[in-house]
């Protein structure tokens, strides 16, 4: 698995792309993808296009990101999830916390 982060030219949008399995082993990589930014972006996008699986620790990591991004005031979007991943997000009702499409 790999985690990449891309900042938009205006610095307002941070996209985190996760490839492969998104589980506990990606904990540090995932945090490294958003924590070092001095100027906080307005919007965070988690791109799961190439994510094959996610487990409950990955859900926990999404909560950490949401907390980092400002909790209830945050704007975190989770995009491009495949059907298996979407099922896991749906069971946990994470669509109530994140903008998922």
């Amino acid at each position: 698995m790999s985690v990449e982060s891309v900042v938009s030219p205006d610095g307002k949008k941070l996209t985190i792309v996760i490839k492969g399995r998104f589980d506990f082993s990606s904990h540090q990589l995932f945090r490294d993808a958003y924590e070092p930014f001095y100027k906080a972006p307005d919007t965070y996008i988690v791109d799961l296009k190439d994510t094959t699986y996610l487990d409950s620790s990955a859900l926990g990591m999404l909560l950490l990101l949401r907390d980092h991004a400002g909790g209830d005031e945050s704007e975190v979007r989770v995009i491009n999830s495949n059907s298996d991943v979407r099922k896991i997000l749906a069971i946990s009702n994470f669509d109530k916390l994140f903008d998922i499409n």
Binding site: F24, T52, Y53, D55, S56, S57, L59, G60, M61, L63, L64, D67, D72, D84, A90, I91, S92, N93, F94, K96, L97
Partner: protein, 572 residues
């Protein structure tokens, strides 16, 4: 570094050669390289010296009298056990088959005669590196094994403590619960709790903490305490859920939470009330029709949302005698085969469809999982609760430490709960705690709670909210009834339920009169009481129960007011 420079640690090296000249020559070279040398003139001597002096490396001639180098090498490898004692064969053999035999016998390398000191030193150094590597691996393996033993010991102790808390309920005692769970499920984050309420309903919780190991187990402890404490005191699912969520939100780190299904199964009322946050869907399995009603996850897991945002809405489903409620953990659905495909809901449904004997459902599911994966996982949890008739067991309530000398004997109290309160507050646990201040009533706490709960919900639902219990005559109407109940409650802006408790002493015993009055239109008491008590009817169950449990029950004011009495004799 020159290959002739001494190795950074001097080794003890055994040299076995039947040629005295060769032996002397080689010994001199090796000593000059800074090592200690032991010598042997044949294979048997080599084995003897090895046994006695345990050299760290062996230079072995292949062809020797008495015992040749191949056999000696086999002996030495056997004697050295797991430690690596490198053996370098000294040979003038050039045939590949002969050289291969050196390695087959346990040799690690060979050196061709005549000896090249530079090459010899390099080979000794290379073999020494391998020897050290092997020693490090063995040492670390032993260390890991020790740590693992230690961890298992800690887990056993932690589990023993936890079992005292978690199994204070009825999970093992209740005849209508079957479950399957790894004994160390706690350390997988899986949690299964069950307990009777004071009115004889059963609360069951199947939870799954994020993460594994100690962090998951630590969160389970307070959750179990809240579950048992509040269930025994008569709190409903809503209050228990709120308390659990608030507690976990407070104590857990942001990325930890607990997926959970909490349910209340009522034999008396023939209903199951369910809240599912993040668990795979469970099912109500109807015994007569084989129909499966999914109990889907409607909420975020416990410990994620703040108290203000937490959603405590439950769903209520009718159940008949013999019906089963089945819950499972994600370990079942996420069991993966060799190609990383998940077992999934569809395969589980197939097992349900082909299951012929309900009692073998767990076995069927386990077999399907093993067939799918090839082996069983240790984080699979399943529980099944069957609705059975017969006298319900009730919570025995907390143990009391007071003597009874200070028990209140002659008093009365009035409450009026108005719309804003009725909407969100359940006064029953509070009232029960108040009444249990009376020693004489403690033995009857279950019946008392059941009667109080029925009369209160009649006053609220039929009185204040004006709901028609006839709606509940079939499963569809049943769901409609609870939909309307929630809707009307949310819109309620007037009305009241009044509760009066009056306690009078009678010799050493006494009598408690409970009077409940509502703001509704009342009902035709005689007509309702004249109806036969049909045990399998979904509606009107409450009144039958109240008439069974309390000695005396009277209505007045056109059905708007109801009165029951509980008496007690002197305590032994």
């Amino acid at each position: 570094m020159s290959a002739l420079a001494p190795a950074h640690e001097a080794l003890t090296i055994l040299i076995a050669d039947d040629s005295a000249t060769d032996l002397l020559l080689l010994s001199t070279i090796v000593r000059r390289q800074g090592h200690q040398v032991l010598t042997a003139a044949n294979g048997r001597e080599a084995v003897e010296v090895f046994t006695r002096a345990r050299p760290q490396l062996v230079l072995m001639d292949a062809l020797m009298p008495v015992m040749d180098g191949f056999e000696a090498a086999r002996w030495i490898k056997q004697l050295s056990g797991e430690a690596l004692v490198p053996i370098i064969f000294l040979t003038s053999l050039t045939d590949s088959a002969d050289l291969a035999e050196c390695l087959d016998a346990g040799g690690d390398d060979f050196l061709a005669k005549p000896y090249n000191p530079l090459l010899l030193a390099a080979k000794i150094n290379a073999m020494d590196r391998l020897r050290r590597l092997q020693a490090t691996v063995l040492q670390q393996r032993d260390l890991i094994a020790k740590h693992n033993d230690y961890l298992l010991h800690e887990q056993r102790v932690a589990k023993a403590v936890f079992d005292k808390v978690a199994h204070s309920g009825c999970i093992n005692a209740a005849p209508n619960i079957r479950y399957l769970q790894s004994p160390y499920a706690l350390f997988n984050g899986d949690l299964l709790l069950a307990a009777y309420t004071p009115s004889g309903d059963m609360h069951v919780l199947l939870g799954d903490f994020t993460g594994h190991g100690l962090p998951a187990a630590v969160g389970a402890m307070p959750l179990a305490e809240v579950f048992y404490g509040m269930t025994a005191k008569g709190y409903g699912l809503t209050q228990i859920l709120r308390e659990m969520n608030a507690k976990l939100k407070r104590i857990l780190p942001v990325d930890m939470f607990c997926c959970a299904t909490l349910l209340c199964l009522s034999t008396d009322r023939r209903v199951v009330e369910v809240w599912n946050g993040g668990m795979p869907e469970g099912y109500v399995l109807e015994v007569t029709t084989g129909k499966r009603t999914p109990l889907a996850s409607r909420h975020l897991p416990l410990g994620v949302l703040s108290a203000e945002l937490f959603d405590d809405r439950t769903e209520v489903w009718p159940v008949a005698l013999g019906d089963r409620v089945f819950l499972l953990s994600d370990g079942v659905l996420e069991t993966a085969d060799a190609n990383d495909r998940l077992f999934g809901v569809e395969r589980l449904q197939q097992v349900f469809d082909t299951n012929r004997e309900p009692d073998r459902l767990f076995d069927d599911i386990e077999q399907a999982l093993v067939a799918f994966r090839g082996e069983a996982r240790d984080d699979v949890s399943m529980v099944e609760i069957t609705l059975r008739s017969g006298l319900a067991t009730r919570a025995t309530g907390p143990l009391y430490a007071d003597s009874g000398q200070s028990c209140p004997r002659d008093w009365s109290v009035n409450f009026e709960f108005r719309a804003e309160t009725l909407k969100r507050y359940n006064p029953l646990p509070y009232l029960l705690q108040l009444l249990l201040e009376i020693h004489g009533l403690r033995a009857q706490s279950g019946a008392l709670y059941s009667v109080m709960a029925e009369l209160y919900s009649n006053a609220l639902e039929h009185g204040v909210l004006g709901l028609d219990s006839l709606l509940k005559r079939d499963a569809q109407g049943f769901a409609e009834y609870y939909r309307q109940r929630n809707e009307r409650l949310a819109q309620l802006d007037s009305g009241y339920v009044r509760v009066q408790v009056q306690v009078v002493p009678n010799g050493a015993g006494g009598t408690m009169t409970l009077r409940i009055e509502d703001s509704g239109p009342g009902f035709d008491v005689e007509k309702v009481l004249a109806q036969p008590m049909d045990i399998d009817r979904l509606s009107g169950r409450g009144l039958g129960l109240v008439r069974q449990l309390s000695r005396d029950i009277r209505w007045s004011d056109g059905g708007r007011c109801v009165c029951v009495e509980f008496s007690w004799e002197a305590l032994a």
